[in-house]
């Protein structure tokens, strides 16, 4: 069953002539995230993947404008078009039905407040709980993301955590509103490979245990191969190919996907440059 359906989404910025000429930077993007699925959106810097995500949540920069398309979210009360919602309703969706995980856990957390304060704030924004109950909920959430020593950690500040732990806190906050969908924008890019493996495993656990859907935005095809069920490849504002992960890696249809796959250095497959040198030696 489809949870999130983006149809014909076009996002434009004002051109040189200002408001009179709009320049589309994301053009007619359509994608559908099923329930319980990890959907990968890959592309290089500037391909429009982050803008697409921001548009889903109504978080586009003030000068950007959605010129056409719809973003439909399935819920118990039927389907809502997120683009048509007012600010109040949208706030309930953001962090409520859709949880957000950003790339830089170091800047996405407020350095001046304790983790407990920030998680409790996220919990109480979406649920009516007393401070005390919300604090218990915060501990439960931190346990859920496998944060060691959760209760004691509540009084720590973000700088006291390592990068991997900060990302766990971000995920805990994203889970606070009991979301159906996690929108994760490059969640492991700032992390070492060993910690990246832990966070990807955590996302898979959450999907399995909570039935979450994940829209995973990444530039790393390796990450896609390891975690996603389906994937869409973006280039210059358009989706050039969408496929099940096995199919995409077995038989990439679009030349750009093939080029992107060829550019990923693989362990065990030496580049011709190096092999030439070895022959000579």
């Amino acid at each position: 069953m489809t949870l999130l359906a983006v149809r014909g989404l076009t996002i434009a910025f004002p051109g040189f002539a200002g408001e009179r000429s709009w320049r589309p930077v994301v053009r007619g993007v359509s994608l559908a995230v099923e329930r319980g699925e990890i959907f990968g959106l890959v592309g290089e810097s500037g391909s429009g993947k982050t803008l697409t995500a921001l548009a889903i949540l109504g978080l586009l920069p003030p000068n950007a404008r959605v010129t056409s398309g719809s973003v439909e979210l399935q819920g118990a009360e039927g389907t809502v078009d997120l683009l048509a919602l007012g600010p109040r309703e949208l706030r309930r969706v953001r962090g409520g039905r859709i949880g957000l995980v950003f790339q830089e856990p170091a800047t996405a957390l407020n350095p001046a407040y304790t983790l407990g304060f920030q998680i409790v704030e996220a919990v109480r924004a979406h649920r009516t709980l007393s401070r005390h109950e919300a604090r218990d909920e915060a501990v439960r959430l931190l346990d859920r993301v496998a944060m060691p020593d959760a209760r004691r950690r509540l009084d720590d500040y973000p700088h006291q955590l390592s990068g991997g732990q900060r990302q766990r806190v971000m995920i805990a906050m994203a889970l606070a509103g009991g979301p159906d969908l996690l929108l994760a924008d490059e969640p492991t890019t700032a992390l070492d490979v060993t910690l990246q493996a832990q966070i990807l495993e955590l996302l898979e656990d959450l999907r399995r245990d909570l039935g979450l859907s994940v829209l995973l935005i990444t530039h790393d095809l390796g990450v896609v191969a390891e975690t996603c069920d389906r994937v869409a490849v973006m280039r210059a504002g358009e989706i050039v190919e969408e496929a099940a992960v096995e199919a995409l890696f077995r038989a990439p249809a679009h030349p750009y996907t093939r080029a992107l796959l060829a550019a990923v250095p693989r362990l065990g497959a030496l580049s011709p440059v190096v092999e030439k040198r070895e022959e000579r030696a």
Binding site: V193, F249, P265
Partner: protein
Amino acid sequence: MTPPLLVIAGLRKEYAVRRGALRRRTGTLRALDGVDLEVAAGECVALVGESGSGKTTLGRCAVRLIEPTAGRIVFAGEDLAALAGHELRRRRRRFQMVFQDPYGSLDPRQRVASIVAEPLAIHTPLDRAGRAARVAELLALVGLAAELGDRYPHELSGGQRQRVGIARALAPGPELLVADEPVSSLDVSVRGQVLALLADLRQRLGLTLLLIAHDMAAVEQLADRVAVMYLGRIVELNRRAELFRRPLHPYTASLLSAVPVPDPGRRRDRIVLPGEPPSPLAPPSGCPFHPRCPSARPRCAAERPPLALVAGEVGEVEECGRMVACFYPGELSPRGVRNGQGPS
């Protein structure tokens, strides 16, 4: 075999940790805890490891951007650690550094040509016209169009900026290049180009390269030998192909298995290490890796395994020493690597 161009022996770097109003010394952070490494002329040695393992500190100590606490850095037969001031500066033209961040390491107020010309003004007797000619040569060498010399760094793409950083490092004609994560801030498609450029320059100019990287795939394209670092020490040192085919240290095996592979069929065999690297302020007893090691035994918590040569198997020709700091080497293999069989 050619004599080593760079010999690092017993290198240590400690930082004092001070607390409170009196700034009393409350502890010692050992960023480098006794590192020995030899780099032959024309060789590329890669330093890999997680953040905080000391690889950048080692790279910076090697060119004395950081003062080591103890140990020797012998470059072309001379101990750099013993040199100071003018004497050290005169030798700097022979070893240069390429920095990780092509945004932060270029002066935003200088044009590209003047950035690349600055080391020439310091290290060579060239006059203005001579420098301009050399800058043009260098830009061509790193694959930049001559007219980019008039641009400012913000007008360039990330890949172009990194090429400027490489041109600047090559300007005084160094023998050794220390490249600290030269491609990790670039897009995949550009990464390959910059790695290929480094490989090409190495061959053409006969450069010796100390490559600092956490991206194993980048390492595989360039390095002859790989040194794996953990908590300020080298835990495994081997020729690249051998290390990737048959990692001996369990940390190397886990690191290799954590690299995402663009092949959905392989996803189930990765070794996910528990926890995070321990703090160098309070290193664990015994082997520093034992709290996270999947095959740790009681001995690992009690004794620290030294970095020692591993004997080759019967019939195997040992060209250069495989070294590993582990009591039970070779027990853990990453996915796709079983019984010493390489991935197809």
